[in-house]
Amino acid sequence: MSAIEELVAEFAKLPGIGRKTAQRLTYFLLKQPREESARLARAVAALGERVRTCSQCGDLTEADPCAICTDPRRDAGLLCVVEEASDVAAIERAAEYRGLYHVLGGRLSPLDGVGPDRLNVARLLERLANGTTVREVIVATNPSVEGEATAHYLERTLHERAPALGVSRLARGLPVGGELEYADGETIAQAFAARRRFPGAGGAEGAGGGAAA
């Protein structure tokens, strides 16, 4: 196999890259100065050499434990459980949460052969074993049917193992910047169930607990 064919074949393995795109990327690289290609090759090689999963939380890191797990300014009493490492990056971008993380490495998906044994659940239970500083687990799986099932599986498992531990879910409902007119019924129903009272407003509690903001 020629070098060109080999690189096309490698690019074509990437998600969302078809053969034509793989060829385009390959020919683009061929037109670049050699140093550009070398820099890309070094960056790809460094991924395999330097990046690993954090033995504590399962996030991707170059130092084990990762910078979040070892940061003394983070609240070790809060543990946010997410499906993928990319979810950690998304939450960090929001700069709102200051606790620790646990990356499951996926979600329950029987159709894809993913059961609890294929997720990073055993390590989560280890982290929450006796002597843990964690007082609340925030389950931040995606608001899909599979994410919901994963969340309910975790809630049930955590309740069995550590009944005193607080377990919560992220709120769900209308997206910021979205429009009510285009929201589907399920989203509107969830938004009503998780509605919040204005701080300081009187009246009855909301249907979904009506937590004050």
Partner: protein, 260 residues
Amino acid sequence: MPLVTTPAVILHVMPYGDTSKIVRLLTRDLGLASGIARGARRAKSATGPRLDLFALGSATLRVREARELSPLTGFEIARGHAALGHDVGRFAAASALAELALKCAPAEPHAEVFGAVAGGLAALESAAAGDVEVTALAACWRVVVALGFSPSLDRCVTCGSPVAGTAHFSAAQGGALCARHAAAREEGGGFDDVTRLVPSDRATLAALVAGLLPEAPLDARHAVAHRRLLRSFIRHHLAEDRPLPALAFWDRSAWTATSS
């Protein structure tokens, strides 16, 4: 490229690239179909949040001849099934039902199979907590029967003689065996696919195969036995050696409460 709008159930969803989703659908008018919903993973996509597992709706596909993947240009939800994710037992059973349709349904339109899958998911969502297991079994059997694989329960599958009282059920042969042929099978070895059914078990199985809930509730032991029998029947007659991970997941654990 004609636009086709058809009732559809979402059986599988997977991300594609940064912004799109590929969706496997069981449709009433096109049979099994695959659609690509471009931009569906964007935060402000109107279609994206609707493309969730098990949702029943009206799918609009831009059908292209000789192409397996059609652009999915719209999906209006008639009934979302988000509540199936609130209970791992219902979720496991719904996944098994979806897998049955994905792996075993014909590619061509089949209104009866479509109705059985859509109706089965709705029944699973609304079933009382103690009825989830029997509802799931009945829904799966309804799909199996709609696909043309109804097991024989009253007559021996080998000789056709009536079967009464306690009987043996051969998943491989597709139904009950009379005493003579059950004995012959046992002597010949290879009895792994055979389940002994006392009259009440046979009545339960007959109700499930008819798509009905049995009169007597299933205890945990019998629920396991019925799941195994169904899975074995599907494996022998419909799966053609394809792996069935969702059926295995459902069968693996007592996800749901049964009458003890």
